[in-house]
Each structure stands twice: as structure tokens, then as C-alpha cells.
């Protein structure tokens, strides 16, 4: 192990090629993962913001909040189910938002809500709203009025919130009456009656398990289907497809990382067969030599993670806001885990060759 460490320290150039290749792979993995996380966050922020564990859609909605409608009667029925602590309405309207001084309208997801959640305080007064910070880059300032849709429904921004985008559109949180007004005025086809929401967010009483309560609601209230938030996120249009496409790309990249390590150490092992033969002759076991090789692979991967991580962080700072990129510690941790696993598996490919090196080859050579 000491030998492997010293080789790495004293002959860094020998490992530079593999190190650089892995660094670029780390950069690619973190940027891809960061884009995926940002896209998913932009698509699912509305649901991820919910502190309640359950959400109820109408049964005919095919698990889509956009198609769902929950009437006042259904809402009351849900609230009356034993075990329900709180049942609050939630509505969405995807509209163009006109910001003063901008020629092009911004895409805005207007949320009508009744109770605070993880990221948004209690509903503001009618005509006011909390805007997602992503709208700030569009030129919106605190106190500005954003006009929604062709009807130009005005909403004055009184505070900033983060991480609540939906369907890649910036969130704007308003009270239920303002949401209905904006929806009915701008999308008459989708107009809703007073008291109607698109979904109801349910908080169980203490001691009641969400899945049991979901079943109870579906039984007690006609024509509704209750989902956990995770199920609802999976049901959002495009989310699963985005995740599977990116997972395929990221998975393939990990495989490439493993191949890079495998090829590099296979070549390195061939190059130092003579030295390894001498070491075996003087009593080094195959396992000791293999452990040294593994140590080198892991340290190169760690170095690549540090440099690649720093590069991706730097890149995130210079990229324009329009490029969605979220760097999170959990993404870095999963990338680190995957890369280390790839390095371990890749280096293990050379074990067989090390085991087969004949110590007798050290004697009689020129």
C-alpha cells in the first residue's frame, strides 16, 4: 500500500491521463445530475413544497392535477373523514405573466392555496402574491404588479419564495379567490365554480398513517383518488420520462468511468509486469499488490471528485440563470458513490492479471 501511495505521489504524471478523464466524467455527471435536479425541481416544486403527506384528485383526472377538479361538496367530505386533521384546497393556472418593462411575457404558474406549506407563508390578501425568486431574473421586483394572461389580472408581489416552480414555470402564490378570478378570466374553458379547487392537500391527525387515511378518504368520498406526495410527483407529466432519460445517461457515464479505470489500470499493469514479478519474487502477495492498485484507483477517483466538484461549482456560478442547474450535496454524494464503485469495479478487472504474474519471471530476465 505504501508503495502504491508513493508511486502516486512521485509519479503523478503517470496517472494524469486517467485523472483528467475521470475529472471530466465527474464534471459531466454533476452537470447532468444538476440539470436533472433543476428540471425535476422546476416540475415538481409545487408538490415538494407541501408539508402535508397526501393529496386528493378527482377520480377521472388520471392522476393529473391539471385535469382534476374537487368540488366544495367533495372538499367538505374529505375534511369530514375521521383521521383528517386538515384538508386545504389547491389550484393551478398556467398563465403568461406580463412584467412592466419587459416585452415578452414570462411563464407563470399561479397557485391558489388556503394554508401555508414548507416554503410559502399563509395566503396573502386578494390581489397580492408571493413570487418565486426565478421571476426576479425576469425583471420582477418586490412591490411590482404582474399582470396575468390576456385579461391582465393584476397581482402585486409582496414577498419572495423559492423552490416552488411547476411544469418549468415560475410559481406565484395567491389566495383562492384571486386564483379563481385569474383562471376564469383567462381560461374560460377551465373555469371553476366558487369553492372548487383542483386538489385538496390532507394532513392526517397524529397517529394516523397516511396510507390508511388515503384508503379511508377514497372509500368515504365519491369520485376522488388520494395519493401520497411521492406518488403524485411520479404522476406529473414528463417527470418519470425525464428521470429515466437522465438516469440512462448518468448510468452509461458511470459505466464509461469504470471502463476508463479498467483500461488504464490494465495498461499500467501490463507496463509494470516486470516490477510486479520482482515484488512477487521477494514475497509480495497478489492481494497486497491488488490492494495497492485499488488504493490508486480510489485516490484518483477522489482527486477527480474534488477537482470535478470544484469545476462544476465554478461552472454553476458563471452559467446564466436561464440554464437550469442545481448542485446539491445529495447529488454530489450519489456521484461520489457511483464513481468510487466504478473505480473499484474497474480496477478489479486487473486483479486476474496480477494473480497470474509468475514470480519466477523475475529470474533469468535480461
Amino acid at each position: 500500500m505504501k508503495l502504491a501511495w508513493r508511486e502516486l505521489i512521485r509519479r503523478p504524471n503517470r496517472f494524469l491521463t486517467a485523472g483528467m478523464a475521470l475529472t471530466l466524467i465527474v464534471l459531466l455527471l454533476l452537470v447532468l445530475g444538476g440539470i436533472l435536479d433543476a428540471l425535476i425541481q422546476s416540475s415538481t416544486g409545487l408538490l415538494k413544497a407541501q408539508s402535508a403527506p397526501l393529496i386528493v384528485y378527482s377520480a377521472d383526472s388520471k392522476s393529473s392535477i391539471d385535469r382534476s377538479r374537487i368540488t366544495q361538496a367533495q372538499h367538505d367530505g374529505i375534511a369530514a373523514v375521521p383521521g383528517v386533521h386538515e384538508a386545504t384546497g389547491l389550484g393551478i393556472a398556467l398563465l403568461a405573466g406580463h412584467i412592466d418593462g419587459r416585452n415578452e411575457p414570462s411563464d407563470v404558474a399561479v397557485f391558489g392555496y388556503e394554508a401555508p406549506n414548507r416554503f410559502v407563508p399563509a395566503p396573502p390578501s386578494p390581489g397580492q402574491g408571493y413570487a418565486d425568486r426565478s421571476l426576479r431574473s425576469e425583471g420582477l421586483a418586490l412591490g411590482d404588479t404582474i399582470e396575468l394572461g390576456t385579461a391582465r389580472t393584476p397581482v402585486r408581489v409582496i414577498g419572495w419564495i423559492s423552490g416552488t416552480d411547476y411544469n418549468l414555470q415560475s410559481g406565484l402564490w395567491v389566495d383562492a379567490a384571486t386564483w379563481r378570478e385569474a383562471l376564469n378570466a383567462n381560461i374560460p374553458d377551465a373555469a371553476v365554480a366558487p369553492g372548487t379547487f383542483q386538489a385538496v392537500v390532507v394532513t392526517p391527525e397524529e397517529g394516523v398513517t397516511p396510507t390508511d387515511l388515503a384508503a379511508a378518504i377514497d372509500t368515504a368520498v365519491p369520485a376522488v383518488t388520494t395519493f401520497t406526495i411521492d406518488e403524485a410527483i411520479a404522476g406529473l407529466p414528463g417527470v418519470r420520462q425525464q428521470q429515466s432519460v437522465f438516469a440512462s445517461i448518468i448510468g452509461t457515464t458511470f459505466v464509461i468511468a469504470g471502463i476508463v479505470v479498467a483500461l488504464f489500470f490494465a495498461l499500467l499493469t501490463i507496463e509494470r509486469i516486470g516490477l510486479l514479478g520482482v515484488l512477487k519474487a521477494i514475497g509480495a502477495s497478489s492481494s497486497t499488490l491488488a490492494a495497492g492498485l485499488t488504493l490508486q484507483a480510489v485516490l484518483i477517483a477522489v482527486g477527480a471528485l474534488i477537482v470535478g466538484g470544484a469545476l462544476s461549482f465554478g461552472l454553476a456560478q458563471v452559467l446564466p440563470d436561464a440554464v437550469p442547474l442545481t448542485l446539491s450535496t445529495s447529488r454530489f454524494a450519489s456521484t461520489a458513490f457511483g464513481l468510487l464503485a466504478s473505480a473499484l469495479i474497474g480496477s478489479a478487472i486487473s486483479f486476474r492479471r496480477i494473480i497470474r504474474i509468475d514470480p519466477a519471471s523475475a529470474v533469468g530476465g535480461a
Binding site: 505504501k2 508503495l3 508513493r6 508511486e7 512521485r10 509519479r11 516486470g274 516490477l275 520482482v278 515484488l279 512477487k280 519474487a281 521477494i282 514475497g283 509480495a284 502477495s285 497486497t288 514470480p359 519466477a360 523475475a362 529470474v363 533469468g364 530476465g365 535480461a366
Partner: protein, 223 residues
């Protein structure tokens, strides 16, 4: 006591019509502090004999005993341990680890055995000083001359206080003057420690340093 006792050792490669006999009924002994020169033409079996004596190869037939160790009964794993603890090797062209200093090249023997500590480091330094390399402790092989590299290799072979040291053409890469110096050093170190040694050489000018000359032709010892 004998440092090496090889009885009726036979080593063959292949089988049937393709069988090649590398060693044929070789019986040889080396005394406790005896140094023998093993000479013979290329392909005569010198390397095979050396490899079997050092536990690098297993014989097809016969018995090999090094000190109290019945080498022919050892598994591959036991042979690795046996070489690590009881045998010293000096290879052709020194074969040092190029990125390690002279001292670290000696410590490799302790490293592969998982041994460390101040005492081992002191032993490496003392050995290098004895070999006239006290001022070269921190130099790597590319910074050393051919003779110095071979002296480091001798130090490495003596690091584990072996019962038997095997030299494979130790002077082949050196000019005759340097070769003489290295052979003199080998004799002094081996005799000074009372260690047994086998020196394989082509160069008959070097054989007078040995206590005895053993000649091998076509896998058989010449009486």
C-alpha cells in the same frame, strides 16, 4: 546444518513427446555459510535450479529443503511467505523500484511483510552504510550508477536476514572492474553474515570468489 539440500530434483515442462527436461535428477547441497558459483551455458538449467531453490518454482519430482523448511511441501501462499522471510534475491540488472529511494528500496522487503518501525529503518540505513552507500540513501535508482544500483539490490536481498541468498547474474550488466568489486562485496557480505549463497554466473572470471563451483549442462550437474 545445510542451508540447501536438493535431492533428485527433476523439472519438466509439457508432457509426452513435447516434454522438455529442464532439470534431471539434480542433487546439490549448500552448507550454512557456503557460497557456490553455479555456472553453465545458456539453457543449461541454472535459472530453473535457482528458481526452485528460492521457492519461485516447484519441482516436478524430488525434495528441496532450505534450512528447516521442506519447500516442496509448501502451498503457493506458504511459498510466498517463505520467500519473504527466508530468501534473499539479487536479480539481473538490479531490478529496483525506480521511484523509491535507495533506503525505501530496502524497506520494500519489510513493507510487503507488513513490518515497520524505527528498528527496521535503522537496519536499512546500516546496511546501506556497510555497502558504501551511506551518502546515497535518498537517491533514486536513476540517480545511481550501475554498481551502486547493484549494491542497493544486495542490501535489499540482505534486509530480511535470509538463510539463503540467490544471485542471478549479478555482474552481467557491469564492466569487469565493477563486476570484480561487486563480487568482492557479495563475498564479504555473505561471509560476514555466515549466510549461504548461490551465485549464477556466465563469467568464469568471477567464480574464484566462491567456495565451490557447480557446473550444470543440459539440466544435469557435471561432476
Amino acid at each position: 546444518m545445510r542451508a540447501l539440500d536438493m535431492q533428485d530434483v527433476r523439472k519438466t515442462y509439457g508432457s509426452g513427446d513435447n516434454e522438455v527436461v529442464a532439470l534431471d535428477q539434480v542433487t546439490v547441497t549448500v552448507g550454512d555459510d557456503e557460497m557456490i558459483a553455479l555456472v553453465g551455458p545458456s539453457g543449461s538449467g541454472k535459472t530453473t535450479l535457482l528458481s526452485i531453490a528460492g521457492g519461485l518454482l516447484s519441482p516436478t519430482d524430488g525434495a528441496v529443503v532450505v534450512g528447516p523448511h521442506h519447500v516442496t511441501e509448501y502451498s503457493r501462499k506458504e511459498l510466498t511467505r517463505f520467500r519473504r522471510e527466508f530468501i534473499g534475491f539479487v536479480f539481473q540488472g538490479a531490478n529496483l523500484v525506480p521511484f523509491l529511494t535507495a533506503k525505501e528500496n530496502l524497506l520494500v522487503v519489510a513493507d510487503v511483510a507488513g513490518k515497520r518501525g524505527k528498528e527496521i529503518e535503522r537496519r536499512a540505513e546500516t546496511l546501506l552504510e556497510e555497502l558504501g552507500l551511506g551518502h546515497r540513501i535518498k537517491n533514486t535508482p536513476p540517480q545511481l550508477s550501475g554498481g551502486e544500483r547493484q549494491r542497493v539490490a544486495i542490501g535489499r536481498a540482505l534486509m530480511n536476514e535470509p538463510e539463503l541468498v540467490l544471485f542471478d547474474e549479478p555482474t552481467s550488466a557491469l564492466d569487469s572492474k565493477l563486476g570484480e568489486q561487486v563480487m568482492e562485496l557479495i563475498r564479504d557480505e555473505v561471509k560476514g553474515r555466515g549466510t549461504a549463497a548461490i551465485v549464477v554466473t556466465h563469467d568464469t572470471r568471477m567464480t574464484h570468489y566462491a567456495d565451490r563451483i557447480v557446473e550444470i549442462h543440459d539440466g544435469r550437474l557435471v561432476a
